[in-house]
């Protein structure tokens, strides 16, 4: 892995500094292998194709949760906009998928025409197919690169990255911090989703993009195989993302961003450019979120502006908080557990709970349970599920400042203790 490349002589290798990397990668590899062997596409068929897709999507959610953990758990920026970056990544890749597939369909339907089709006819045909639902028949300017997979893949990285860069620069420059920043990012997310909801946004309004599960040119390949490919890609991206995040938080850089989380002013007085660090982390995590989204939506098959609404980003924070922020594996555990449980409960598979005369249907009551358990976690177990690991490994945080008040070690806690 990447350890040898980064290990300077006086420093220990990355895997030793972050022992969770090895455990995590081993678990991920085992899990991937098990799913591959049991999946419909390659093995016994014990796991249905749709469940493979669910698992693949869950891995993508784990990846975006990693990004959230990096920006919130380590750097203290509670961003309520990372699911927006996730959605932008999905839109970017979805545009190419939809364009390319519609193009194939149009070319095929024009092939039997008496005259060979002209480029204009093909382009008009695609535009009518895609934008007919919003009453348009011309390509809006944002689709200018939709024909090229390379450019759209570049957009997956560049658009969320640039948006985060500009927004972060504006916000951090004027020292918007804490809850104000959260509200501001939430406003940004709301603005983006409202914009996309318009029919003339150029991205099909509230219809969103659909049919993304069909890869253009691979009509012959069954979905069971495609689902596995995406599962592998998601697993690979998650593994890579984990190592990247672990590397970012492990060295001196990690110490600085944790310092920013705990007491921003103090780090600034030590001479660090707090804004630059925050901007880097914010942008990097936005890019990771965009990539996660680009892998997620081809598995989901459809993307619409409702996926970008602020509530999605808040749920992301919920996953990370429940899993345990400030530790990378916590974010992964939280995202996987809560999103899978949500799927199970809201999918109607969970048996009703009968309490005497009252019959509790989980479809209706799961959200309430989730909301309350979230309150409970915040109040009673700020370390989240990841805190359980501490009990097992007997690992104690160095207690420099009196009583333990959660993972936000440092001056914040000190101030709390005083007050």
């Amino acid at each position: 892995m990447a350890d040898t490349a980064f290990a300077a002589p006086p420093r220990r290798p990355l895997v030793l500094r972050q022992p969770s990397i090895l455990v995590f990668l081993a678990c991920l590899a085992l899990f991937t292998l098990a799913v591959t062997l049991l999946a419909d596409g390659s093995g016994t068929g014990a796991i249905s194709t749709s469940f493979v897709k669910t698992l693949g999507k869950t891995l993508c959610l784990c990846l975006v949760a990693l990004a959230m953990d990096l920006v919130w758990g380590y750097c203290g920026i509670l961003s309520l906009g990372h699911m927006a970056f996730f959605g932008i990544g999905g839109y970017a890749v979805g545009m190419w998928l939809m364009y390319a597939r519609t193009r194939l369909i149009v070319v095929e339907s024009l092939a039997n025409a008496p005259l060979p089709p002209t480029p204009e006819e093909i382009s008009d045909g695609i535009a009518t197919q895609i934008f007919g639902v919003v009453g348009a028949s011309e390509f809006p300017p944002v689709w200018i690169f939709a024909h090229s997979l390379t450019l759209q893949l570049l957009a997956v990285v560049l658009v969320p990255g640039l948006l985060a860069l500009v927004f972060g620069w504006l916000a951090f420059r004027s020292r918007v911090t804490g809850v104000y920043l959260s509200i501001l990012t939430q406003a940004m997310t709301l603005a983006l989703s409202l914009y996309l909801f318009q029919n003339d946004s150029g991205l099909r309004g509230n219809n969103g993009l659909s049919g993304l599960q069909n890869l253009p040119g691979l009509g012959e390949v069954p979905q069971s195989a495609i689902s596995l490919w995406f599962f592998w890609a998601s697993a690979f991206a998650l593994g890579l993302g984990y190592v990247l995040c672990a590397w970012v938080v492990s060295g001196k850089f990690g110490s600085v961003i944790r310092g920013i989380r705990d007491d921003e002013a103090r780090v600034r007085f030590l001479g660090y450019s707090v804004e630059a660090f925050k901007l880097f982390v914010f942008t990097l995590t936005a890019i990771i979120a965009g990539i996660a989204g680009a892998l997620y939506y081809p598995q989901a098959g459809i993307i619409n502006p409702a996926e970008i609404a602020p509530i999605a980003s808040i749920y992301l924070a919920v996953w990370v908080a429940i899993g345990g922020r400030g530790r990378l594996y916590g974010a992964v555990i939280g995202a996987a557990l809560v999103s899978l449980l949500s799927t199970w409960f809201t999918g109607g598979q969970a048996p009703d709970l009968v309490l005497g005369p009252v019959r509790i249907q989980w479809v209706d009551w799961w959200t309430i349970l989730l909301g309350l358990s979230f309150v409970g976690v915040t109040l009673f177990a700020p370390k989240g599920i990841g805190g359980l690991v501490d009990l097992v490994t007997e690992r104690r945080s160095p207690s420099r400042h009196g009583a333990d008040l959660g993972p936000d070690h440092g001056s914040l806690r000190e101030r709390e203790a005083q007050e």
Partner: protein, 652 residues
């Protein structure tokens, strides 16, 4: 019975003589002259007959037109004479002489035919009657005549109207007549100078009748010429391909004028080529090569040479032809001088209407601002004073609205139920707020981010709970009758009473807030605890109790706001979400910790949203998007809001 029947037959026979009427009265003679047209009763040919009657100056002409219009004129089929008649029963008519209206007697209706003018003719008769009616002694009739002219004016009315103004005794009617005379002068005046003078006499007026009169004068048509046109009629020159004159439209004008060859659409060209495929080729060009528009153009041109299809202009030819012509817009509704005067007058009117619309917009903005203020005022207490981020604030609004709904189910009278719902909503949300503060928030006072998350969890749970109880469909919260309708200032400026009520409510709460914070023991203690809890504690104030009460107070106000908002918006489990981000924005923009900041913030957010909506009225989503972007930028320049706290209070 039998005798009665015989008697009536006898009576009818005795009266039989329709002949008794005077056949040589001037009006009868006039009618006889036009009898053919009148009997034919066709809209196309009736005109001269009506004009002759109207212009005859005979005293009976008005009553003839009147009776004719109301289908009371009949014709004796044997003598051809016209009479007035009333149907007494199915078979009997009571007839009158048309010259003096004197009764002739009852006759059997055999031998008489009723004139039944259709609606078009009746309207023409009505127009002819106007001049009589304008002089009618009964003011009601004169008013009706004026209305008729306003609806459907004709050139002939102008002279008729002018003739009657001098004699008009009623001042109200006289003013209307004079106004109408000027309007008609604009439309039908003989000289341009007269018309322009009439237009100018209206300066300062912006009635819709004036606008309706002026607009047709500005009609233009787009024309093409080879040389640059001159003269006042030319409104402006147009460039093909501009917004006012798309390229296709410009070329179509040339085609319609026979100045250019027609174009062909891509689809038509394709169909023409397909229709002429022979042996896998079109005009000798192989089909397989026709995969670009250029190739198809060439193939079509080749076809056109053989004479199979019409020759058409290619894109290059279109461009070249368009270059040769100058396109211009020409006034056709009126002579140039009149049109220009009308344009000036309309511009002035537009300006005034624009001012009125701004006033209306301002009212809209104020009412939206008061809604935001109402939604945010609770937040100004919990977030602004206590610095507690309560994401469930929107759900307290929802809770208040549902409380109003439930109360309305129990109390049938809308007025009483609203008055009862307000305190109950306050009580319910106060209790909920206190419970939340005791159970959750007090443990998190020093961890603001976690307060945000925990209250978000509560918000999600409350939303789902409301969904489980009340379902997903919107519930109505009906306003009492006295809040229905609008306060109308003029035809542009109006505001509904509900919005006024919300504004008043917002002002009441502003006053209440200021009173509680500045004039009561509770307010003093709240301020003390906010500034320095430990010091306040040592002064004998119980900070826990104060925090609890403050939070409950803020939540209670949210409940009342919920009732108010529910009156004009739908009550759904998600309604809180619609306000929460805007409410936070309002507080943040205004400046945390200052109620006047919240007021300013609400005004800014509300007027901004209305202002953006004004630019793009069809799209409220875009307005919200741009508003949020503006706020994000605004916070760049005033990170602490419009009214920023100074000094040590900033640091907490």
């Amino acid at each position: 019975m039998f005798r009665a029947a015989v008697l009536s037959v006898l009576l009818v026979c005795a009266a039989l003589p329709g002949r008794a009427q005077t056949a040589d009265a001037p009006i009868q003679r006039l009618l006889q002259e036009n009898a053919e047209a009148i009997l034919k009763s066709s809209r196309k040919t009736i005109g001269p007959a009506i004009d002759a009657l109207a212009a005859s100056g005979l005293p009976a002409a008005q009553s003839v037109l009147d009776r004719w219009q109301s289908k009371q004129m009949w014709v004796d089929e044997t003598s051809g004479l016209f009479v007035f008649a009333e149907e007494i029963d199915r078979d009997t008519l009571k007839i009158f002489d048309i010259a003096d209206g004197s009764e002739i007697g009852d006759v059997a209706d055999d031998g008489y035919r009723q004139l039944k003018p259709n609606s078009g003719i009746r309207a023409m008769i009505g127009a002819a009657l106007v001049q009589f009616q304008l002089n009618d002694p009964n003011p009601r009739t004169r008013l009706r005549a004026l209305n008729a002219i306003e609806r459907d004016a004709e050139e002939s009315h102008l002279a008729a109207l002018r003739a009657t103004i001098e004699r008009e005794a009623d001042p109200g009617l006289r003013a209307r007549k004079e106004r109408l005379e000027r309007l008609l002068t604009i439309r039908f005046g003989e000289s341009d100078a007269e018309r322009i003078a009439a237009i100018e006499s209206f300066s300062g007026d912006f009635g819709s009748d004036l606008r309706a009169t002026l607009n047709p004068l500005l009609q233009t048509s787009i024309e093409a010429a080879e040389t640059e046109p001159e003269g006042d009629e030319v409104k402006r020159l147009l460039k093909p391909g501009s917004e006012a004159l798309p390229r296709e439209a410009a070329y179509q004008i040339l085609v319609d004028g026979g100045l250019a060859k027609p174009r062909i659409s891509r689809g038509d060209k394709r169909n023409a080529l397909i229709a002429n495929i022979e042996d896998g080729a079109v005009a000798g060009i192989r089909v397989a090569t026709l995969d670009s528009e250029d190739a198809r153009d060439r193939a079509y041109a080749a076809l056109a040479e053989t004479g199979v299809v019409q020759p058409v202009a290619t894109e290059a030819q279109v461009d070249e032809t368009l270059d040769r012509f100058v396109f211009h817009e020409r006034y056709v509704g009126a002579p140039a001088a009149v049109a220009l005067a009308a344009q000036d007058a309309l511009d002035a009117i537009e300006f005034r209407v624009g001012m009125m619309q701004s006033a209306d917009l301002l009212l809209d903005a104020i009412s939206l601002a008061s809604i935001y203020f109402l939604a945010a005022i609770g937040l100004a207490i919990t977030f602004g004073v206590m610095r507690v981020i309560n994401m469930a604030h929107g759900e307290f609004i929802m809770m208040g609205a549902y409380t109003g709904y439930v109360v309305q189910q129990l109390i049938p009278s809308y007025t009483v139920s609203i008055l009862v719902a307000l305190p109950i909503a306050f009580a319910v949300t106060f209790a909920a707020g206190v419970a939340m503060e005791r159970l959750v928030i007090r443990w998190l006072y020093h961890r603001p981010l976690e307060t945000l998350l925990a209250t978000f969890g509560i918000s999600v749970a409350l939303q789902q709970l409301a969904k489980n109880i009340f379902g997903t469909q919107a519930r109505p919260l009906t306003a009492p009758d006295w809040l229905d309708g609008s306060l109308v200032f003029n035809d542009v400026v109006a505001i509904s009473y509900i919005r006024i009520a919300i504004f008043v409510l917002a002002m009441i709460f502003l006053g209440l807030f200021l009173f509680v914070m500045n004039r009561t023991r509770l307010g003093l203690e709240v301020r003390a605890v906010t500034q320095n809890p430990r010091m306040a504690g040592s002064m004998g104030i119980n900070p826990d109790r104060i925090n609890m009460l403050t939070f409950g107070f803020g939540s209670g106000i949210a409940g009342i706001a919920g009732v108010a908002i529910g009156l004009y918006a739908k009550v759904t489990s998600e309604m809180g979400q619609d306000y929460i981000v805007q409410s936070f924005m309002t507080v943040v923009v205004g400046g945390v910790g200052n109620i006047f900041g919240a007021l300013l913030g609400a005004s800014l957010v509300g007027s901004l949203q209305k202002g953006i909506e004004w630019f793009n009225p069809s799209n409220t989503l875009a307005a919200q998007t741009y508003m949020i972007l503006f706020i994000i930028l605004f916070i760049q320049f005033r990170p602490r809001g419009i009214i920023a706290l100074k000094g040590r209070a900033v640091e907490t």
